[in-house]
Structure formats: C-alpha cells, structure tokens
Subunit: 335 residues, 2 copies
C-alpha cells in the first residue's frame, strides 16, 4: 500500500513577504509549491496538503476594516474559512492541471476544516498571537475607547466569559513608535472535526487539501456542540492533528530554511540532520527553537512520532523537498 | 438504499434582503435552513446541499473596492471560492451541531467546487449578469477612463480574447439617475470538476455541501487545463450538474415563493402544482418564467429530469419543505 504523506506548506509558499499578494503572484507561487508536491504524487505517495493563511487573512481584515461602515466585518473563524476556500481553490486547480498534464486521473479536493480546541485552553486567559497592524499608544487608546478592545489586561478567565479574548491589545514591543498590536488566542489543537470525511477521501485515492490556516478554530461545548472563536491555531500543530486523522506515515513541514539549527544565530550554531524524539524534546526544552517560529514545528513533529505513531517527520524548505525525502538534506525526526 | 436529494438553498436562506448581513444574522438564517434540512436527514435521505452567494460575494467586492489602494482585489472566481469557504463553514457547523443534538453520527463536509463552462459560451461575447452597484453616466465614464472597463460595447469575441469579458458596463435600466451597472458573463454550467470526490463522500454517507454560489467558474482549455474566469454561474443550473454528479433521485429548489405561477402578476395568474417536462418546456417557451428568476430554476428542473434521469424536481419555499415533500404544496416537475 502507498505511504501517506501530509505536507504542511509555509506562508511564503503562497505569498512571499516582498509581494503585494496579487492573484497572479499567488497563483505563481502556488505553481512552484505544487510542482514539488506533484513529484511526491508521481513517486506514488498518497498526498494530503495543509497550508498557512497569514497574509490572506491579514488582507481580508484590512479590507473589512476599510469598509466597516458599509459592510459588517466577520470574526476570525469566518475569515479563516474564507481563506480555506481561496487557497484551497488555488492549490486544487493548480494540482489538477499538473495531474492532467501528466495524463493521470487522480482527484483533488479541498475540505473546509474546523479544528477543535479546549474551552479551557490557557491561551483564552492570556492571548498570545499578534495579528494585524501595529499601533501607537494613542491609536490603541482610541480603538479601545471606540470599540470593545481592552489594552494590556491582566490574564484571567473573564475574557473568555465576556467573549473578550479576541479583543485584546497588548504592548508587544518594549519601545518604538508603534509598540501596540491586537493579540488573539492561539489555542492548542485537539482534533480535526472533519476527520472522517477527509479519511474517506484519502482512502479513495484523493489528494486532499485540509485544515488550511490551522483550521477554522472552534471549541467544543457540552454535547459535542461546536462554536467558532476569534483566534488562530498554529498551522503546523493543526497539520499534525490532520496527519493523525489520516494515519499518515510521513509529516513534511516546509518552511523558509533548509535544515534545523541548534544555537541558531550564535557563534556555535550548527545544523542538525537527524533527531530522535528524545533529542528533539531536549533541544526544545533547552530553548534552541523560537516560540513563534521553529518551536511549534518541532513540537508538531514530536507529537507526530509520539502520538500519531508516525514513521518520520521532516523539516525542510520547498526547493529541497526532493533531496530531503532522500535524506540528503533537511532535518528528520524519528522515534 | 436511501434516496439522494440535492437541496439548492436560495440567497435569502443565508442573508435576507433587509439585513446588513452580520455574522450573527447569517448564522441565524442558516440555522433555520438547516432545521428544514435536518428533517430530511432524519427521514433517511442522503442529503447534498448547494447554495447561493450573491450577498456574500457582493460584500467582499465592496470591501475589496474600499481597500484597493492597500490590498490587491481578487477576481470573481477567487471571491466565489472565498464565499464557498464562508457559507460552507456556517452550514457545516450548524448541521453538525443539529446532528450531534440528535445523537447521530453523520459526517458533514464542504468541498470547494469548480464548475466547468465552455470557452465558447455565448455569454462571453455578450455578458448578461449585472453585479454590484448602480452608476450614473458620469460615474460609469470615470470608471472606464480610470480602469479597464468598457461601456455598452458591441457583442463579440474580442472581449474574451482581451480578457475583457469581466469588465463591461452596460446601461441596464432605460432611465433613472443610475442606469449603469457592471455586467459579467454567466455561462452555462457543463460539469462539476470535483464530481468524483463528492460522489465518494456521498456514497460513504457524508452530507456534502458543494458547488456554492454556482461553483467557482472555470473554463476548460486544451488538454483538460482549467482556468478561472471573471463571471458567475447560475446556482440552480450548477446545482443540477451537481445532482447529475451524485446520481440524485430528487432535486429540491428552495426560493422565496411556495409554488410556481403561470401568468405571474397578471389577472389570470394561477399556481401550478405539477408539471411534466413537456409542460414545463412549453410554459418556459411561452415566457411564463422570468429570465433572472424562475426561468433558470425551471430550466434546471427540466434538465434534472431529462439529462440526469431524476425521479422528480420540486420548487418551493424553505418553510414549506415538509409539506412539499409530501406533495401538499410546491411545484413538482416529473417525466
């Protein structure tokens, strides 16, 4: 039987930092990413794809803000679902076209995906994920006075209860003209709500795009009732839950860098090509991996081996997928 | 084996005309629609859902326009894919919650869907579907001077070749302050690109939401290569292609009115509770059904019986689904 691989595309695979993010630019980037994925399909892997959505949801939020007097803005769960449609469509069409060019008949489909988090997640008491523009002190105070934002609140359950968790502004930089920014909860993903449907498609040989942008964040209330929330789930940690859902053999995390570093940016920095789970945990604990960057990726890989009983997880860059799959570069995490 | 029913929700099932379209309003309306659908699920039907997206894509286009100096606007195919994510998410979560409340275990999933049209469709030569705001003559001329719109162009293939088909402004009202409006192609749907994946899900007992907003409009080029286009496909005609894709037994078109009228609005108007395909064709030819309203719905029902070999098609309103399914009201179209 073919091996199943979950590919987690980084944000730069769809919109690069220096780009405006026109439709043409995004389709071009998706084309490059899909060429790498097409090679995996041609090698016989059953491929499942997940992706970030930071630039796309950011753009939608700018548009919502600009038209807020004419059209009601949507909360972040809905914005997330929109970007799943958008990015899913781009990847789906591009891969379908590459598959058609190869004369193959492999279906591709995007499933709109909710990812379930705990209503008791600590991030609801002290939101951690900065989103959107930076503000001056005056701008932050004006926002708080006019809308329902609170500035630098003390952590506590009251935000969740008052549905305030999505409306916190924090001073995220110690100094500077614009040190304030909106922060939202980034709760830990527990499971993919659409796991069954996704598994049915994968088992039928479909290339599935799912859990985009970390999934639409929902919390589970009594009786299994789901409710969307203003927040963002880390896409690599959500991607690992997706890999669990489809019993993946390999979890491939694509990012800006070719290989993982220890002591990154220091004099004694060195690359690491292979880590056991025990080593990865030790390095993580020692602070080798940044919280907003390599940390969640390594954590997702550890979970994939430990909780999903995966064969191996690989971290590398999009242009090195071929070599990394052969073990020539990248960082592999194994039991 | 359970019968398969495709339900086509009208635009007012998600955002009513008098509403602003806040997230709360839309979820409330979706709740009402899903309660009616839940009754079909409880009766044992295998349900597939499609829906309109007019108000949602209109709102996104207003937001894009308001922020166009900061964020690149997306073409209509991409806007359509965004609304599929948004509305799919709302329906999916609401139905999942209703199913959980019933103690049932039935998966629900939204598939991002492209609908294929012919590159030779006559609507590309003479776009017919008005979208967005009304303009004065001066506003229309200012738009044409600044952007790449053309006003009241003669029909012809050159629009498609110059990728102009999405950038036409026509005088759509004979008089008035603002008689001008953007018109886009509304080509006839041929097939659902993701038919295989959708069928796999339906066969596995999944409630599928697909082809939202008439599907993301794509045309097929040589070698089966798909490309998005600036246009809108009629959601009922696309819903019929979806019904073909899943071998549906029943096609249920939900709209504002409970039953179809002949001579609508005239002194001799009368309701029609049952039409054979031959009768429906005759009435359509005689002009009983408006082009932008009941016309495409009746045409979709005719196709469902003739081309998809369906058992019956029903046109009624959301609040009358139960009675219409029992034949007590609504209009049924049969072979």
């Amino acid at each position: 039987m073919d091996k199943t691989i979950v590919v987690a595309l980084g944000g730069n695979a769809i919109k690069q930092a220096h780009e405006k993010g026109t439709n043409e630019e995004q389709f071009k980037n998706v084309g490059t990413a899909c060429s790498a994925i097409m090679n995996l399909i041609k090698e016989g892997y059953e491929v499942v794809i997940t992706h970030g959505n930071g630039p796309q949801s950011g753009n939608l939020m700018v548009q919502q803000e600009a038209a807020k007097n004419k059209v009601p803005a949507m909360p972040m769960d809905v914005v997330g679902s929109m970007t799943q449609g958008q990015i899913g469509y781009m990847i789906q069409q591009t891969l379908q076209n590459l598959i058609a060019q190869e004369g193959k008949d492999i279906p591709v489909a995007t499933v709109v995906t909710q990812v379930v988090v705990s209503k008791d997640d600590p991030d609801f008491e002290d939101p951690s994920k900065p989103v959107g523009n930076f503000f001056t002190k005056e701008e932050a105070e004006a926002l708080a006075a006019k809308e329902r934002y609170v500035i630098n609140p003390p952590p506590g359950k009251e935000f969740l209860e008052k549905k305030m968790a999505g409306y916190v502004i924090k001073q995220v930089k110690p100094t500077g003209d614009r040190p304030f920014r909106r922060v939202v909860p980034s709760p830990d993903p527990i499971r993919v709500a659409e796991a069954k449907a996704i598994k049915v498609l994968v088992d039928a040989g479909t290339v599935v795009i799912a859990s985009g942008g970390g999934g639409v964040p929902v919390m589970e209330k009594d009786g299994g009732i789901l409710a969307g929330l203003d927040g963002v789930i880390d896409k690599d940690k959500a991607g690992e839950r997706l890999a669990e859902a489809v019993n993946a053999d390999i979890f491939l995390v694509l990012t800006d860098i070719e290989v993982v570093y220890l002591n990154f940016g220091k004099e004694n920095q060195k690359t690491v090509n292979k880590m056991t789970v025990a080593e990865a945990k030790k390095y993580l604990e020692e602070g080798h991996f940044l919280a907003g960057s390599m940390g969640p990726k390594v954590l997702a890989c550890i979970r994939f081996i430990e909780e999903a009983k995966g064969e191996k997880a690989i971290i590398t860059s999009l242009d090195k997928v071929g070599d990394a799959m052969k073990g020539k570069t990248g960082t592999v995490i194994v039991p």
